[in-house]
């Protein structure tokens, strides 16, 4: 049997009744547990995965490798915090390897993104270098595939 958290992660649009049946809990238990998850920030939020390319809205996403100087006592957290406060920033991850932070930002145009990197990110005093990669096409995100699946030719078979 799947656990509540796993069910929510896969599909947060399931109703409390559905979640209760599927996890073997009562509806009251589900509601109480979800409240706890939210309060404890175990569940951060609920969002739709949107393919903006299917709409008229322009959207540009870039992945930026950032090198920073860690600070005494605070390591990378302080600079990461200064970066993630910007609304344009979608995600920030601390990395192992050749650079320190992966910053994913989205904007309306290429220029908007470039400006953000040049004027805001690169100018932070602890940032020692950036490399910007624009995302050209999204194929899959959070286990969801962007392309519409082709339908197999078939007939209904009694089985």
């Amino acid at each position: 049997m799947k656990k509540l958290l796993q069910l929510l992660e896969e599909d947060c649009t399931l109703t409390h009744e559905q979640l209760a049946s599927m996890s073997g809990m009562t509806v009251e238990e589900v509601e109480k547990t979800i409240r706890m998850y939210e309060e404890e920030k175990i569940v951060l939020g609920y969002k739709a995965i949107v393919d903006w390319d299917r709409t008229d809205r322009e959207a540009v996403t870039a992945l930026i490798e950032v090198k920073v100087t860690p600070q005494r006592g605070e390591g990378f957290d302080r600079v990461a915090e200064r970066i993630y406060q910007y609304d344009e920033v979608e995600s920030v991850y601390l990395m192992s390897g050749a650079f320190d932070l992966t910053v994913i930002i989205s904007g309306r145009t290429l220029k908007e993104v470039a400006q953000f990197v040049g004027q805001r990110l690169a100018t932070l005093e602890d940032v020692t270098g950036t490399a910007t990669h624009f995302i050209l096409k999204k194929y899959k995100e959070k286990h969801l595939i962007f392309e519409k699946a082709e339908e197999q030719e078939r007939e209904l078979i009694f089985s």
């Binding site: 599909d11 009744e17 599927m22």
Partner: protein, 395 residues
């Protein structure tokens, strides 16, 4: 030419499935929800598909040995041992078949003589009777009961046995009821069969979809092992219906004879499918559990939903079907399904399609997404509410 005079009596006596007309209506309906099709809604896991593709890239396109690739039979033997504690020798006790269906056909044709009787518990999938007929045998249908959770009881079996009985089909976990046979049930069956020459054809195609407990095969019981032919396959456990991969296991004296029929009728199962099946056996256990967990959640939701709207149904422990009792609607199963489809555009299958004993029930398959199941329940509620109102008005 008068083909009526030319065709064999056996094939003319096989009744076409009545469900075709219903499916024709369903296929024409654009926005219908189907809880009708008995097939996983998952696509075959990618690593298994990839193994099939890789075999094609390598140019492995020739026949395999008649019984199937030794590598695959070894993997099947290891899988059966690992998952079900069943021990079969890959070299002499396993044949890879074109789906479980071929395995059922092989078994019946190799075991029965004209006039022999084949006991078929019903409701069950529709192939056993016609295949027994084509083999020259007479199917003897035994109705299992909702109050027994659609298990076959020792008394029901005893009453059906005659001196002509050759084969007992055990279709568990059961399509359409979701019923299973536990070890204690099989022990009772074993007592009845003791001292007879009756063989057991155990169709275990849904074995991996057993919820909350482990599947028990009749071949797990020492007293039944020698008289049991196990039929299984990849369609339901690994979402591989279109690959047509099944297998049959049993005593080597019988498997050896079956191989003759398979060799002349089929040659060997499709090679690309066999390569994919090797990968499924080797690295597919995690897929099985993932899909089973998913089905289990839907199963619970559908059962609770049906009960909430007033349709009694026992909790199915296997397969991916719920079999609610619709007698309170005052409609026959056929009427219920037809009107539900026409009025609410939801397809469920009439229990009567699965033989006597299915009347008064409908089969709802939950191998479909949660949103469709939820919507189907809402429409079922509507349908029943309207029906009851109408019946009240008409007195």
């Amino acid at each position: 030419m008068n083909y009526e005079n030319i065709l064999s009596d056996r094939i003319k006596n096989v009744q076409p499935s009545g469900i075709r007309r219903f499916f024709d209506i369903l296929e024409e309906m654009k926005d219908a929800i189907s809880l009708g099709i008995g097939e996983p809604d998952f696509v075959t896991p990618w690593h298994i598909r990839d193994a099939g593709i890789y075999s094609l890239e390598k140019g492995f396109t020739k026949y395999t040995s008649n019984a199937g690739m030794a590598e695959l039979r070894r993997e099947i033997a290891a899988y059966l041992n690992r998952r079900f504690d069943l021990q079969y020798d890959f070299a002499s006790q396993i044949i890879v078949t074109v789906g479980g269906s071929e395995a059922i056909d092989l078994t019946l044709r190799c075991l029965v003589n004209p006039g022999d009787e084949v006991i078929v518990p019903v409701p069950s999938f529709v192939c056993y009777g016609p295949l027994a007929n084509m083999a020259g045998a007479t199917p003897v249908l035994v109705e299992t009961k909702a109050e027994n959770e659609f298990r076959l009881t020792a008394d029901e079996l005893r009453a059906a046995i005659t001196p002509r009985t050759k084969v007992l089909v055990l279709p568990f976990p059961n399509n359409p009821t979701g019923g299973i046979m536990e070890r204690k049930d099989l022990e009772e069956i074993a007592k009845v069969l003791e001292g007879t020459d009756i063989m057991v054809l155990s169709d275990e195609i849904y074995a991996e979809l057993t919820y909350g407990q482990h599947h028990v095969s009749p071949a797990n019981l020492p007293e039944l092992k020698d008289r049991t032919i196990v039929v299984n396959g990849f369609s339901k456990s690994h979402a591989m219906t279109g690959w047509r991969m099944g297998y049959v296991c049993g005593p080597k004296e019988i498997i050896r004879q079956m191989l003759k029929l398979h060799q002349f009728g089929i040659m060997s199962a499709p090679t690309v499918s066999q390569y994919a099946a090797v990968e499924a056996m080797r690295n597919g256990d995690v897929d099985i559990e993932k899909m089973r967990d998913e089905y289990d959640g839907r199963r619970r939701y559908l059962v609770e939903g049906l009960r909430r709207i007033g349709l009694p149904c026992f909790e199915p422990k296997g397969a991916f079907y719920v079999f609610p009792d619709i007698r309170s609607s005052g409609l026959s199963s056929d009427e219920f399904c037809e009107r539900f489809l026409m009025e609410e555009k939801v397809a469920v299958i009439s229990g009567s399609a699965f033989g006597p004993g299915g009347e008064g029930f409908v089969r709802c398959c939950y191998a479909t997404g949660m949103k469709d199941i939820a919507e189907a329940l809402t429409r079922m509620d509507n349908f029943l509410t309207n029906l009851r109102k109408k019946q009240a008005r008409e007195g």
